[in-house]
C-alpha cells in the first residue's frame, strides 16, 4: 500500500513514516502543499494522510485539488485543530476519515486499514488470520469455524489486535480505540485488562492459539509467531 504523508512537522512525519514502513507501507512525505500537489500528479497513492495546518496553506485545499484532478486516493485527515468545522468540511470535501492529534500510531494504522478495506476490497468483509476470522459487517468472530460469543468491544479489540499484529499496543492506545477520546476515563485500563483476559479465554476455549501476550508492563501484543 502506497501512502503519501503530507505533514509539515519533521519529527512527527518521521515517526509516522517509520511506523508505516515497518507495516510494509511505502510511505512518501511532503512537507507542504506545493510539493504534495506535484507528487499527487506524478504518482499514484492508495491513501493520503493529510495535515490541515500547513506552512503554505490549508490542507483542505489539497482535497479540492484532488477532486479537480480526479485523483482517486483515499484521504485520512490528521489535524491538531479538532474543530468541528474542519471535520465536517473535510468529510464533505471527500475525506474518508478524520483523526485528531495526538493519535496513537496503531490507531492510525487501524484507520488506514479500515479505509483501505472499504475502498479496495469492497464486498470482502472478512479478515482472516490463521484460524481466526472476523466478519466486519456482521461483527461475528470465528475460531476454527466455532462462533465466538464476543461483545462489540471485544470484537473491536480483536480486530485492533489483528490489524496491528506483532506490535506492542499500549493500554492507552487500546482504551482510546475502544472508548474514544472524550471519556475522562483513565480507570479504563482495568477494563482493558479485563477485556483482553476475556478474549484470550474465549479464543482458548474455542481451541484457538493464544496469540495475545503481555509485553513487560507496556501493554499487549498479538504475537503471530506463537504456535
Amino acid at each position: 500500500m502506497k501512502v503519501l504523508l503530507i505533514e509539515d512537522n519533521l519529527e512527527l512525519a518521521s515517526s509516522i513514516s517509520e511506523f508505516l514502513a515497518r507495516e510494509g507501507y511505502i510511505c512518501e512525505v511532503s512537507y507542504n502543499i506545493r510539493d504534495a500537489q506535484d507528487k499527487l500528479i506524478s504518482f499514484q497513492y492508495d491513501c493520503v494522510l493529510l495535515d490541515i495546518m500547513l506552512p503554505d496553506g490549508n490542507g483542505l485545499q489539497i482535497l479540492s485539488f484532488m477532486r479537480q484532478e480526479r485523483i482517486q486516493s483515499s484521504i485520512l485527515i490528521l489535524s491538531a485543530k479538532n474543530s468541528l468545522d474542519d471535520k465536517v468540511a473535510g468529510l464533505e470535501e471527500g475525506a474518508d476519515d478524520y483523526l485528531t492529534k495526538p493519535f496513537h500510531l496503531p490507531e492510525l494504522h487501524a484507520r488506514l486499514r479500515a479505509i483501505y478495506r472499504r475502498k479496495k476490497l469492497n464486498g470482502s468483509n472478512m479478515i482472516t488470520f490463521n484460524e481466526i476470522s472476523l466478519n466486519i459487517d456482521t461483527l461475528e468472530a470465528h475460531v476454527n469455524e466455532t462462533l465466538l460469543d464476543v461483545t462489540r468491544k471485544e470484537f473491536d479489540l480483536l480486530l485492533y489486535f489483528i490489524v496491528n499484529k506483532n506490535r506492542v499496543l499500549s493500554r492507552q492506545s487500546i482504551a482510546a480505540h475502544l472508548w474514544g477520546d472524550y471519556t475522562d476515563n483513565l480507570a479504563n485500563f482495568d477494563f482493558v485488562y479485563q477485556h483482553v483476559k476475556n478474549i484470550r479465554k474465549k479464543i482458548s476455549a474455542a481451541k484457538g492459539t493464544d496469540y495475545i501476550s503481555t509485553v513487560y508492563g507496556l501493554g499487549y501484543k498479538f504475537n503471530t509467531s506463537k504456535q
Binding site: N9, L12, A80, H104, E154, S173, A176, N185, L186, Y216
Partner: protein, 441 residues
C-alpha cells in the same frame, strides 16, 4: 431610593426653607409698599388741604376721604417736614376689629399763619397681609409638590433616558458574545463621561477576553503536535528491544502523555463549547443515544459486576448537537461506573422532562457545590482528571438544561432537566420582565 426621589426630596427641602424666608420678605415689602402708598396719599391730602386754606376755604373734617385735622401753630414751624405715626387701633368702637392707622402731620405757613395739618387713614393690618400670604403660600406649596411629584418621574424618564439605556445595555452585555458595547449618543456631560468610560472599559474587557481566549486556544492547539510527537516516539520506542525497567519508565511516560492529552482535549472542547461552536437547531433522539451509551458501557458495567436498571422512554427528542449528546451521556455514565462500589447499581432513566442517573457509591466527603468546577474532584480518584462534570455542565448551560446533583438514600443522583416546550420562550419573557423591573424608571 431612587435618584429622582432624592432630587425631589432635596428640592422640596430647599423649597420648605425658602418659603418662610420668602414670605417674611414678601410680607415686609408688601407692608412697606402699602405704608408708602398711604403716606404718599396722605401727604398729597395735606398739600391739598394747605391749598384750600390758602384760598380761604375751611376744609371739612372728611373732605379728602380721610380724617383731617388743621391746627394753628404759634411760633415757627419746621417747614417741609413730616411727622409720620403709625399705630394699631384696638378699641375704636366704630370698627368691628382692631385696625392700623397711619397719620401724617405736615407743617405749612399760609398767609403768615402757621398750621399743622394732620391726616390719617386706616391701612391693611399685618394679620390681613399674613392671612393672604398664608393662603397663597399654601396654594403655592400644594401646586409645587403636586407638580413635582407628578412630573418628577416623567422628567427623570426623559432626562435619565441615556443613563437607563446604558444600564440596560450593560445588563445585557456579555463578554462571551464578543460584541462591543454600542451606547447611544447623549448631550449631557455626565452621561457622556459615563458612556465613554463604560465603553472604554467594556472594549478593553472584550479585547482582553478575546486575546486570552485566543491564547488559550492557540496554546491548546499548539500543544497537540508536540504531544503527538512524544506519543509516537514512545510508541516506536516501546517496539524496540527494551528491558523491564525501561518498559516501566515508558509506561509512566505514556500515562502522563495520555493524561496531558485528555486534559488538553477537554480544555479545547470546553473553549469550543464557550464559543458556541456546537449550536444547533436540530433535535436528536436522546433515547437512541442513551440506549447506545448504555449498550456501549454494558461491558464495563458487567466487568465491575454492577446492576443496571434502565427506563428509557422512546421518542425523547431534545435540541442538542449529536456530538454533545454523546459526550454528555458518556461522561455521566462513565462517572457513574467509575465512582461506584463493587456489586453496586446504576439507574438510568430518561423521559421527556429529564434524564436522571443514579449510582451507588461512597458518600461525598466534602461540599458538593463545586462538583461541576474544573479540576475539583469529589474523591481523590487519581485516575480522573476532574474535568468531565465541568464539560457536562457547560453542555447543559449552552443548551439551557438544568443540571442538579444531590446525594440521597445512598445514591449519587445527577438530574438533567430539559427545557419544556414553550417554557423557553416564557423564561425569556420572564427574564425581560425581570430586567425591566430592575431598571424600572
Amino acid at each position: 431610593m431612587k435618584l429622582v426621589d432624592k432630587f425631589t426630596l432635596w428640592f422640596l427641602g430647599v423649597t420648605l426653607i425658602i418659603i418662610p424666608i420668602n414670605s417674611v420678605i414678601t410680607y415686609q415689602s408688601i407692608k412697606r409698599e402699602i405704608d408708602k402708598a398711604a403716606i404718599e396719599r396722605l401727604k398729597h391730602v395735606n398739600v391739598r388741604v394747605a391749598g384750600q386754606l390758602e384760598k380761604g376755604e375751611v376744609p371739612g373734617e372728611y373732605t379728602q376721604g380721610c380724617r383731617i385735622k388743621v391746627e394753628s401753630m404759634s411760633g415757627p414751624t419746621p417747614e417741609g417736614q413730616y411727622a409720620i405715626t403709625e399705630r394699631d387701633v384696638t378699641h375704636d368702637p366704630e370698627l368691628r376689629d382692631n385696625d392700623r392707622k397711619i397719620t401724617v402731620a405736615s407743617y405749612h405757613t399760609i398767609n403768615g399763619k402757621h398750621y399743622r395739618i394732620t391726616s390719617g387713614d386706616y391701612v391693611s393690618r399685618s394679620e390681613q397681609i399674613l392671612a393672604g400670604l398664608r393662603t397663597s403660600i399654601m396654594w403655592k406649596l400644594i401646586i409645587l409638590i403636586g407638580l413635582v411629584v407628578l412630573t418628577a418621574r416623567l422628567a427623570s424618564r426623559i432626562v435619565l433616558a441615556p443613563f437607563y439605556s446604558t444600564l440596560k445595555k450593560l445588563q445585557r452585555f456579555s463578554l462571551k458574545s464578543k460584541k462591543k458595547l454600542v451606547l447611544p449618543p447623549t448631550r449631557v456631560k455626565e452621561f457622556k463621561e459615563l458612556n465613554c468610560f463604560v465603553g472604554k472599559m467594556t472594549d478593553k474587557a472584550v479585547d482582553d477576553y478575546l486575546s486570552l481566549k485566543e491564547f488559550s486556544e492557540n496554546a491548546s492547539h499548539e500543544l497537540q503536535t508536540p504531544l503527538a510527537i512524544i506519543r509516537s516516539k514512545l510508541e516506536l520506542l516501546s517496539e524496540s528491544d527494551i528491558q523491564g525497567g525501561q518498559a516501566a519508565l515508558i509506561t509512566d511516560m505514556q500515562n502522563a502523555v495520555d493524561k496531558l492529552t485528555r486534559i488538553n482535549r477537554s480544555l479545547i472542547l470546553l473553549s469550543r463549547l464557550e464559543n458556541n461552536e456546537y449550536e444547533t437547531e436540530q433535535e436528536v433522539s436522546l433515547s437512541r443515544y442513551a440506549q447506545e451509551a448504555v449498550n456501549a458501557f454494558g461491558d464495563l458495567i458487567a466487568l465491575k459486576s454492577l446492576r443496571l436498571e434502565c427506563s428509557i422512554d422512546p421518542d425523547v427528542d431534545v435540541k442538542l448537537h449529536a456530538s454533545l449528546a454523546d459526550i454528555l451521556l458518556n461522561n455521566l455514565i462513565s462517572n457513574a461506573i467509575r465512582h461506584n462500589i463493587p456489586q453496586g447499581c446504576i439507574e438510568v432513566s430518561l423521559n421527556r422532562r429529564c434524564l436522571v442517573i443514579k449510582n451507588t457509591g461512597r458518600p461525598p466527603e466534602g461540599p458538593t457545590e463545586d462538583m461541576f468546577q474544573r479540576f475539583k474532584k469529589g474523591s481523590q480518584c487519581n485516575n480522573s482528571i476532574g474535568i468531565g462534570l465541568s464539560i457536562v455542565k457547560q453542555i447543559c448551560e449552552i443548551n439551557s438544561f438544568q443540571i442538579r446533583y444531590h446525594y440521597a438514600s445512598e445514591r449519587h443522583i445527577v438530574e438533567v432537566a430539559f427545557p419544556q416546550a414553550g417554557a423557553s420562550s416564557k423564561l425569556l419573557q420572564n427574564d425581560e420582565r425581570y430586567l425591566h423591573e430592575k431598571i424600572q424608571l
